[in-house]
């Protein structure tokens, strides 16, 4: 059943193999998006994969953009209950929506808030039981708001990110961050995004189609996997380019939102469009609604 639910994105990220060892451990993932296409769906997909029952990952989710209820509702539709995961200490949520580093003097104070945040993360990781310490994923949503919280001190944000990156080698945890690349595209020397792109092992970019709007394709996704030569012996870069569409799927009277890729440049195949099953009825959603009976 798991294999059927994997989609091309998972395969591109290397998540189609066995869940242990976690293929993303020790790696940095950067998700880039823009105003027209939001890349947060990749984040949700990664949360779902990390919290699958076969893996023993712990997620530390540092949220600057949305409150817990937002992610809870979305992941519930994807088949993952964040409330129980939070109770089981597999999903640790840091709500940073109201974080504002005091700007009394620009020097120390802006840094102060981020340093505290880093210490909090470190303390959480160290406080985990031994077996779980190896499979930590740190997710940050999103970096541009960390900059705002630091009152524009991108140096402090970079320091914070470097420290988090150090954690990936120290504790073998994976770091997944989201940023908006169109903010930096007009800058002369966008240090922050350049450094993040350099550090990232996997770069995922969500862009709108160059041809404009389309009703059945939401955008295109480019996954650049800088293969490292350690562990599984993968080497060389792999670039995957997809068109994606987010839709609602009816699965045994439960709502499941899943990502389907229309076209993969590697495989040159189109996923079949799903037939509409009239028996379960329909309701007027703004998105394209198809019903699809899955097995299992």
């Amino acid at each position: 059943m798991e294999n059927q639910n994997l989609n091309l994105l998972d395969r591109a990220l290397g998540l189609d193999g066995p869940s242990e060892p976690w293929p993303l451990s020790g790696r940095v993932v950067l998700i880039e998006d823009c105003v027209e296409t939001s890349g947060s769906f990749v984040l949700h997909q990664l949360v779902k994969r990390s919290l699958s029952p076969t893996s023993s990952n712990v997620i530390i989710f540092v949220a600057f953009a949305n409150p817990f209820s937002h992610y809870d509702r979305i992941l519930r539709k994807l088949g993952c209950n964040l409330v129980t995961q939070r109770d089981n200490k597999r999903f640790i949520f840091f709500d940073m929506l109201m974080l504002r580093c005091p700007d009394v003097d620009e020097g120390k104070s802006s840094e102060g808030g981020l340093v505290l945040l880093y210490e909090k993360i470190l303390k959480t990781i160290c406080g985990l039981p031994g077996d779980k310490k190896d499979y930590v994923t740190i997710m940050i949503d999103d970096i541009s708001l960390v900059e705002v919280a630091a009152n524009g001190g991108s140096d402090y944000v970079l320091d914070f990110l470097h420290y988090c990156h150090a954690l990936t080698s120290e504790f073998d945890c994976s770091l997944i961050t989201l940023n908006h690349e169109d903010i930096y595209s007009s800058m002369e020397r966008p240090t922050l995004i350049l450094q993040m792109e350099y550090l990232a092992d996997i770069l995922i970019k969500a862009e709108p189609l160059s041809t404009g709007l389309a009703t059945d394709v939401h955008g295109q996704l480019t996954v650049l996997n800088k293969g490292t030569s350690h562990r599984l012996g993968r080497s060389g870069n792999k670039i995957h380019n997809f068109h994606y569409k987010l839709y609602v799927v009816l699965w045994r009277k439960k709502l499941v939102i899943s990502i389907d890729k229309g076209y993969s440049s590697e495989k040159r195949s189109f996923r079949r469009t799903y037939h509409v099953n009239g028996r379960l009825g329909f309701w007027n959603l703004n998105t394209l609604c198809v019903t699809h009976l899955l097995n299992g």
């Binding site: 105003v35 027209e36 509702r73 800058m187 998105t287």
Partner: protein
């Protein structure tokens, strides 16, 4: 009597033509008797189509007669549609997913309606915009409107938004860089009088002739059944505003309308405090919605304000405002002129918005545009929908069109219409491509669609 019946298991749409000899009430009785035979079907529906010109009865009395006959024969499941609509509304089969997204939520506070994914909507004051955005502005969201320096069309949106809130009795906080923000309240429009509503609808009724609703799917969702009682109901979800009539004073002296001037304060701390105290009164308590609040901030980065060159200060203010509003039952509308901000700041502001709109001015007497678009003379400006709020869901909303023309009907009522291409001159021979879409056409000129 011509009767076309499709005895489908699910629904029974029956369409009747009207022979001139039979009186209307007899037709109704006959049709009711026919439907009674099909009572076994779960959702019997019928469409009665009559040419309104011939019909001497007033629609109200006819519907009364219909309702008495229907209630006599059936219980509960039939739905009464207005006679002029002439369509069969099929009630979808009751499954665990059917949701009653009625236009007026009867059990809850007026002006707030439930939406998907646990969100609640308030109206933006413009019915067309509500339809485009899929219901209105969701509570807890931040709406940003990008102004055009050449024309104050964002004020139209803001006025309708504020008036709608006041008409529904929702508290309002208004911040503006002008010297006297309270004076702006005098320019708010008033809901259009009911007399006008009725005459408009009657006109459109008479234009429609006989409609045989065998393609009922076409009409589904387009026209809501117009119950007569709703016309008298002042607490409509979205009112039609007459821009020439000012709002009666009792609306904004009765409840709390707070006006804040942002020109004189050194930084945004005072405004932030006002917003914080306002939003604290509208905290969301797990589902129950006491009263929705509205915050309207006009021209946040206007140059006459002292904070206008403090980029990070403004971003920080918006971020904290967004954080506060997510956990409260309120909507915040901020308008700002993007030309005054740096490019990267503009992008940051755009990313922070849940719903992003922009208005653009249309030059007068532009011959190129007049050739390209139909109805160019009536257009006041253009409205672009860049982003639609997706709270609690990751599925984006794909709109059929993102650019709409702002028109003033009879110079009073604001309507948004899709752009339509003017008929192509036969002699020119070239085709301009699809109509109403936003993919750029080569003849668009300076305007960016």
């Amino acid at each position: 009597m011509k009767a076309a019946q499709t005895p489908h298991k699910k629904e029974v749409p029956c369409v009747f033509g009207r022979p001139p000899q039979l009186p209307i009430t007899k037709i109704i009785r006959l049709s009711a008797a026919l439907l009674a035979r099909h009572r076994r079907c779960s959702t019997p529906t019928a469409a009665l189509s009559l040419p309104p010109r011939v019909c001497s009865l007033r629609p109200e009395s006819l519907s009364c007669r219909l309702s008495t006959i229907y209630s006599w024969h059936f219980t509960g499941k039939t739905k009464l549609c207005s006679v002029d609509a002439a369509m069969a509304t099929t009630k979808p089969r009751l499954s665990s997913f059917s949701r009653n997204l009625s236009a007026v939520s009867s059990s809850q506070t007026p002006g707030v309606k439930c939406g998907p994914n646990g969100t609640m909507f308030v109206s933006s004051g413009i019915a067309d915009l509500d339809k485009i955005l899929g219901g209105g502005f969701p509570l807890g969201s931040l709406v940003m409107v990008m102004e055009d320096a050449e024309a104050p069309h964002h004020m139209l949106l803001l006025r309708n938004f504020m008036s709608q809130g006041l008409v529904h009795g929702q508290p309002l906080l208004y911040a503006s860089p002008s010297k006297d923000p309270r004076g702006f309240l005098g320019t708010l429009p008033s809901p259009a009088s009911l007399k006008h509503d009725k005459s408009r609808d009657r006109e459109s009724e008479q234009e429609k002739g006989l409609r045989i609703a065998w393609q009922y799917k076409k009409y589904m969702g387009e026209n809501q059944p117009n119950f007569d009682s709703h016309r008298d109901n002042k607490q409509d979800y979205c009112n039609e505003f007459d821009l020439r009539k000012p709002l009666e004073r009792h609306y904004f002296t009765r409840q709390r309308v707070n006006c804040v001037g942002i020109q004189d304060s050194k930084n945004l701390a005072a405004l932030q405090e006002h917003c914080a105290s306002f939003l604290a009164q509208h905290q969301r308590n797990d589902g129950s919605c006491a009263l929705a609040g509205r915050i309207a901030i006009q021209s946040l980065c206007a140059p006459q304000c002292e904070h206008s060159n403090m980029d990070w200060e403004m971003l920080s203010f918006i971020k904290s405002l967004k954080g506060m509003v997510r956990s409260s039952n309120a909507v915040v509308v901020i308008t700002f002129p993007p030309s005054l901000l740096s490019l990267s700041s503009t992008k940051r502001w755009q990313h922070m918005a849940d719903t992003l709109l922009s208005v653009a001015a249309i030059p007068d007497e532009d011959k190129e545009l007049a050739k390209l678009l139909s109805g160019y003379q009536d257009m006041v400006g253009l409205l672009n929908v860049h982003k639609v709020a997706r709270l609690n869901t990751q599925v984006p909303l794909i709109l059929e069109a993102t650019t709409f023309s702002i028109k003033l009907q009879k110079r009073r009522f604001l309507v948004l219409e899709c752009l339509n291409q003017a008929p192509v001159d036969g002699s020119s021979g070239s085709s301009y491509g699809t109509s109403g879409s936003c993919s750029g056409s080569s003849k668009a000129g300076t305007l960016d669609f």
